[in-house]
Amino acid sequence: MDDSKFSLQPNTNHYSTNAKLGMWIFLTTEVLFFGAVFFLYSAYRFTYPQTFAVASNYLDILLGSINTCILLTSSFSMACAVHLVRLEKRKTTILALLATAGLGFIFLCIKGYEYYDKYKRHLLPGFGFISPKSNPPHLKLFFSLYLTGTALHAVHVLMGILIILYFVLRMTVTKKTFVEATDLTGLYWHFVDLVWIFLFPLFYLLGRNS
């Protein structure tokens, strides 16, 4: 198990291949977890293509795009944090981590607003869903999948924020850097970003040209 290719920085002795391997195996289970939602989506989309194209137009593409931009930016700040922590730059690492958590929080606020907007328009399954009359049937299917997919993703974002804040707190109190913990948290955060990269075109960008 030669991991020498991985580390460019002087802190190679901190690094454990085992921990990284464990994180990647955990992420593999997460791929399958979200994979089930993606498959369900594909199956229904091929069965009811018209409904999905119409339903997609009920989602706010501007808010969706802003949220994608926010999450990509947070991934960038997380990658910077991982780089900085290896150089033992504790303060700038904490700043980069706080920026990541802050962007994640803004993402959740926008998502929350979107849910509230759908709730007001009776488009949230389980919370008084009423299908608009002029629309094709099975509209509820699309919104059920939208709610399941994005809510599961939002829970992951929330977990990521809490983990980041926990390590920021520990770095502040102990005045030490946590290279491995930051690195593994980074992997998790980037994975959450990856899921959104696929959720965004599948739910928000359908049927915009019709």
Binding site: M1, D2, D3, K5, F6, L8, T17, K20, L21, W24, I25, L27, T28, T29, E30, V31, L32, G35, A36, F38, F39, S42, A43, F46, I61, S65, T68, C69, L72, T73, S75, F76, M78, A79, C80, H83, L87, G186, L187, H190, F191, D193, L194, I197, F198, F200, P201, L202, L205, L206, R208, N209
Partner: protein, 88 residues
């Protein structure tokens, strides 16, 4: 240090450019919009995996483990699609 941060920033700019492209393409009248959207999503995912998650610098073992998940997912999609496609 600066070189690595610059590289990360360039990747970030590319990701934002791909986001703008995918949104713009979704409004053009073409039957392949969804396909383009997915292709761009895969490109963005590759950038995140290779540069932000540092797969390109990782050991072969990590590279192997990272491909297992998508492979199982592909199998799930193929077999379950066969079932769906053959239902009468």
């Amino acid at each position: 240090m600066r070189k690595e941060l610059t590289r990360l920033f360039v990747v970030y700019l590319a990701l934002i450019a791909f986001l703008a492209l995918t949104v713009a393409l979704s409004f053009t009248p073409s039957p392949f919009n969804s396909l383009f959207g997915l292709l761009i999503a895969f490109t963005k995912a590759s950038l995140v995996l290779l540069f932000f998650m540092e797969l390109r610098k990782s050991s072969n073992l990590i590279k192997l483990v990272s491909t297992i998940g998508p492979l199982w997912l592909l199998l799930l999609f193929l077999i379950a699609s066969l079932d769906l496609g053959m239902r009468v």
